[in-house]
């Protein structure tokens, strides 16, 4: 289907289902329970996960496939946001012109930065991209104030021309009149599920972008990118020019970043320079590595894990902790709360750091490798049981001893 083989089609269908059912998956706890705190099924967070998933997918084409570690991808995200907000100001509040122009402008911008940065590889490439992004950030923050509105950030105003919109057109980002902020709530056995137009728009875009990255990874072009990561010398002496290939990968990943930036502006029509700051570039690196660089699903999982945990952990302040540990004797309660408070609330980055270290050390392949190991562990257990029971020859008919293999995310994503 769609030019994919059976395995990839199944993989894509799983991803589509996971994405479309996110409002359920992230809302596992009943509304009034103590665990409702850990529900993540609200539109803002889910859309963020989809958007950062797109950002990380694109980054993975450059880093995971081609082996070029860029520390400046937030610049393209920021440029995408600015371009989208300008389209909201000048043309229409309809989201399509905004995201199309965001992708094109980010593509153009990344072609320029890529052309310069790709003259070097390895650490020098990383430093060049970092410098370029930092320069873009400084420009957006001060020099280019007429375009970016400096530190205040670019906003949509009533006085904007919006030449394509009529007098009675919607004042908020919309899909041909359907406002993205609209939500429907479904109450089901004390659970509340929220279905938001904005999230589903981002989710559909994310699925399309995932499909594109899947096609790229399976194409001869993707094979050449992997070859570049593996051995550039051999590729040059095999008659291929690595420069246009790396530039193409850079521009594609820049366009993904621009799309993510555009979607951010769509969800919340403003753009500020802080989106381009270097820690934002670092975040996407961490997402990709945490999820599993070079795998297709890994970066999305990494983005989801980080954004979910960021939201959950930042919400746990000392008051919440006091509620949780009220059963402990006073002195002990304070000690425990003091310790945990370092890792929650504003200290959530400490948790992220510890988590990142643990993954890099124990799961170099990221969450995807972790998933693969768990799947392998589940497969091994029944096999060992069958062996101990004397083995039942051609036992395909016995479901007890031969459970359906679990979807192997790790190998599907390679």
């Amino acid at each position: 289907m769609l030019g994919l083989n059976k395995r990839d089609t199944r993989f894509l269908i799983i991803v589509i289902l996971l994405t479309l059912f996110t409002p359920f998956l992230l809302q596992p706890f009943p509304e009034e329970s103590a665990l409702a705190q850990f529900n993540g099924g609200y539109p803002d967070l889910m859309a963020k996960i989809a958007i950062f998933g797109i950002f990380a997918m694109g980054f993975n084409i450059l880093f995971g496939l081609t082996g070029y570690l860029s520390f400046g991808h937030a610049a393209f995200l920021g440029v995408g946001s600015y371009a989208a907000v300008w389209m909201f100001k000048l043309l229409t509040m309809n989201v399509f012109p905004a995201i199309i122009v965001a992708v094109l402008v980010a593509g153009l911008f990344s072609a320029v930065i890529g052309y310069i940065s790709l003259r070097r590889s390895g650490i020098y490439f990383s430093i060049l991209t970092l410098a370029m992004a930092e320069m873009s950030y400084r420009l957006a923050y001060s020099v280019l104030t007429p375009i970016t509105n400096g530190e205040t950030g670019l906003q949509v105003r009533d006085s904007d021309p919006r030449i394509l919109d009529g007098a009675d057109a919607a004042q908020y980002p919309n899909l041909f009149g359907l406002e993205l902020s609209q939500s429907w709530k479904l109450e089901l056995a004390s659970h509340v599920f929220t279905f938001n137009v904005g999230f589903y728009f981002c989710a559909v875009v994310a699925i399309v972008m995932f499909y594109i990255s899947l096609r790229i990874a399976r194409s001869p072009f993707g094979l050449v990118l992997k070859a570049i990561k593996s051995n550039q010398t051999r590729l040059n002496y095999t008659g291929m020019n690595t420069r246009p290939y790396t530039l193409a990968a850079f521009v594609i990943s820049g366009m993904y970043a621009g799309l993510a930036g555009g979607l951010m502006a769509v969800m919340d029509p403003l753009a500020g320079a802080e989106r381009m700051v270097w820690t934002a570039s670092g975040e996407v690196v961490i997402m990709t590595i945490l999820g599993g660089a070079g795998t297709l699903l890994g970066p999305v999982l990494g983005a989801g894990a980080i954004k979910y945990l960021e939201n959950i952990f930042s919400k746990i302040n000392e008051n919440v902790l006091h509620e949780w540990f009220a059963f402990l004797p006073d002195g002990m309660e304070d000690a425990v709360i003091w310790l945990i408070a370092r890792f929650t609330g504003e200290g959530w980055h400490l948790t992220l750091g510890v988590m990142f270290m643990a993954v890099v050390i124990f799961l170099p392949g990221g969450l995807v490798e972790g998933g693969g190991r768990i799947a392998a562990w589940f497969r091994r257990k029944p096999a060992a049981g069958a062996g101990a029971g004397g083995g039942d020859g051609d036992g395909d008919g016995d479901p007890e001893h031969h459970p359906k293999p679990t979807p192997r995310i790790a190998t599907l994503g390679d």
Binding site: G3, L4, N5, I212, R215, I216, R218, S219, P220, F221, G222, L223, V224, K226, A227, K229, S230, N231, T233, R234, L235, N236, Y237, T238, G239, M240, N241, T242, P244, Y245, A248, I252
Partner: protein, 251 residues
């Protein structure tokens, strides 16, 4: 007719004159060996032929066309392939994928943006790669990670990757360096077979005299950046100058 013509090539690195007025003429469909003691300029000369280095003076003509100023990938597209001293292969890819790349390079040229085609659907490319793997006896290893191959198999794979492109000229930089005698003999056999089966010219840089005298039709002896003698293996063996500069040292 000469397929490769090197005329008055000189190359200087700072105070070191690595090559001095080197002249070399390689006849089509022969094996031409370049020997010489360490530091004689053999590798520098080879690097001048493939575009890694540009000589200070002189010219290098391949089939009448100059290769100077061209990049390695352009020179490869002209029909020159190179085997490295330590095998350069795509270690992260499978053996089959390693073979696909040169076939794609031959079909599509130096660059082609084809992100929406599918490798699996490129039947002709896969068939050609598989045929080459069969020919080099590596078809059963096609799903292996190239990095996990033995050193001898890596060398074999690298040669297969070069030869699947049907180059007119194959350059080999010490193809038997660091090999046990048995493996060396196997490599000699392989190269002989290739010479019989294909329309190809080879230039070999080699330290091992056994390899040189088993394969070469002509031998050029380099010493201190200058060609000392060029002759047939029989004549080189007894040549007094060569004994003095090279073989004499070893004896």
């Amino acid at each position: 007719m000469a397929i490769l013509e090197v005329k008055d090539v000189s190359k200087r690195f700072g105070g070191l004159q690595a090559l001095r007025d080197v002249n070399l003429s390689v006849a089509e469909n022969t094996v031409h060996a370049i020997i010489g003691p360490n530091g004689a300029g053999k590798s520098t000369l080879l690097n001048c032929l493939v575009g890694k280095l540009t000589p200070d003076t002189g010219s290098v003509l391949f089939q009448g066309q100059s290769v100077l100023g061209r990049k390695p990938h352009e020179i490869n597209q002209m029909g020159i392939s190179r085997v490295f001293q330590t095998p350069e292969i795509f270690g992260d890819l499978s053996v089959q994928e390693n073979m696909l790349i040169p076939v794609f390079a031959k079909r599509d040229g130096a660059f082609r943006l084809h992100p929406f085609e599918t490798v699996e659907h490129e039947r002709e490319v896969i068939d050609e790669a598989m045929a080459a793997l069969e020919e080099f006896g590596m078809a059963d290893k096609r799903h292996m990670h190239a990095a996990s191959l033995s050193r001898g198999d890596k060398r074999r794979l690298e040669m297969a990757m070069c030869l699947v492109q049907r180059p007119r000229l194959l350059l080999l930089d010490e193809p038997t360096a660091g090999m046990a005698r048995a493996n060396t003999n196997r490599t000699i056999e392989l190269l002989r077979e290739i010479m019989e089966r294909r329309d190809i010219t080879m230039v070999i840089i080699e330290h091992d005299m056994h390899v040189v005298f088993s394969l070469a039709d002509r031998i050029t002896v380099l010493a201190q950046g200058m060609p000392l003698v060029e002759d047939t293996p029989e004549n080189i063996k007894g040549h007094p100058k060569v004994k003095e500069a090279y073989l004499g040292e070893a004896a």
